[in-house]
Amino acid sequence: MKAALPKLLLSVHGVKAFYGNIIALKGVDLTINEGEIVALIGANGAGKTTLMMTIFGNPRAQEGAILFEQRDIAAMKTHDIARLGLAQSPEGRRIFPRMTVYENLQMGAAISGQAHFAADLERVFTIFPRLKERSSQRGGTLSGGEQQMLAIGRALMSRPRLLMLDEPSLGLAPLIVKQIFDVIAALNKEEGLTVFLVEQNAYHALKLADRGYVMVNGLITLSGSGRELLARPEIRAAYLEGGH
């Protein structure tokens, strides 16, 4: 389906991370190839968000290696990691509440500079026309769905090589969830954007993803193509019961 020889973009080897004395990641291995959508699913508290943040150096990986385009970024500062081309729409969306939508997007472009700001802004407004309408409104006054659009739009403003999305569907109405997942699919298909998706909404995530990983208690317990994982009875039992 994809290119014959997938090019490795991000790889995580044996990464351990702690919150204080509590171990949150117990040796995680995971790879993301260029052009893929990779989903990481797991229950609340499994360590998914911790892994997202550890890739950005906060908390630091105490053991193991994190390679982005063959370069070990495990000891780099968060802002330097961002400058390599990783962008994140984090858990809770973290919109700057007292900045306008426009300013939030300007912040997203902090590293990509002024040169193609207008073009990038136009692209985000085309993807999420709602943001254009809300452009001069403060981020804190947006609805949850609009905030999620803004968080993704802000991440896109930096022209990332790897877009990381932490629970983009959390707390949103089904219609908006569908809209957001459609956008992710389109970005991947049309622009070849690599996406790392963390989700509790396992059905949607695995359906969208090329490959998936399952995390339990700080460890990857299963991996495979999205379709394979969706078909596995233990996945169905643990994450998909009760419909979708």
């Binding site: 950005f56 906060n58 500062k77 968060t78 802002h79 961002a82 400058r83 962008a87 994140q88 984090p90 809770g92 973290r94 700057f96 509440p97 007292r98 900045m99 300013e103 300007q106 912040m107 997203g108 902090a110 590293i111 804190g140 006054t141 947006l142 609805s143 949850g144 905030q147 802000r154 930096s158």
Partner: protein
Amino acid sequence: MEIFLQQLINGVTLGSIYGLIAIGYTMVFGIIGMVNFAHGDVFMVSTFIALIAFLALTQILGATSLPFCFIAVLIGAMVLTSLWSYMIERLAYRRLRGSFRLAPLISAIGMSIFLSNLVYVLQGPRNKSMPPLFNDVIQVTQGGGYDVTLSVKQILIVAVTALLLAGFWLLVQKTSLGRAQRACEQDSRMAALLGIDVDRTISLTFVIGAALAAVAGVLYMLYYGVVNSSDGFIPGVKAFTAAVLGGIGSLPGAVLGGLLIGLIETFWSAYFSSDYKDVAAFSILAVTLIFMPSGLFGRPDVEKV
């Protein structure tokens, strides 16, 4: 009426100076949640830098143009004071970030004591004075037993303050530096995820706060003509009161709080007792904290989750 008008003029002048210092408190608090107790002493250091720079310019270098001297002293004091503040942040605060909350606060108190004593040792315990400048006075009203006057000094103080605040406002609202500063203030972890160097932005905040305090220092020295190594504490705490009154973290609040504290202090001195003017200013601190802890412009923010 004449007395009222005169106190209004005096109060706005004094309030401008407090407002400039208050911005330093409020910005630093906004971005790292710490009260920089050394900020008043940074202001005091700037008054000495201004005094020394002025004397060096006029006595040693023989500069005679007063406006030139004023601008040169202003810029010199801003640059040197900013450097001081930058070093203080690097040496005394940065390492303690991420430590327990009281640690940088205690370090700031230590830095405050260090600065006032350093100047005490270097410059001696006595008041240092400088020749009065810009002494022309405009008579606003005449006759009627009480002449209301407006000195050129006062006009200069208010004008310089207004000009710098306007520039400062543009910097914070319109430039990418200001945007990064506000982003770090609202969510520094997110700002880092977007590629903002948070440590650098915090340093910048200290530098800007100190530059404005230095402007206050130059104006203060110009206004009173006397400086002393203990002069950091009282204006510092009053400016802090102004920041709390305005709503700590709020920039317009700091300016408005400064003006209010300046006015309250001068009116109190005029109508009650100038011996107890500090009581008036500090009572405001207590009253604000008890009845209105988020201040005038405290954040009634709508933040949906």
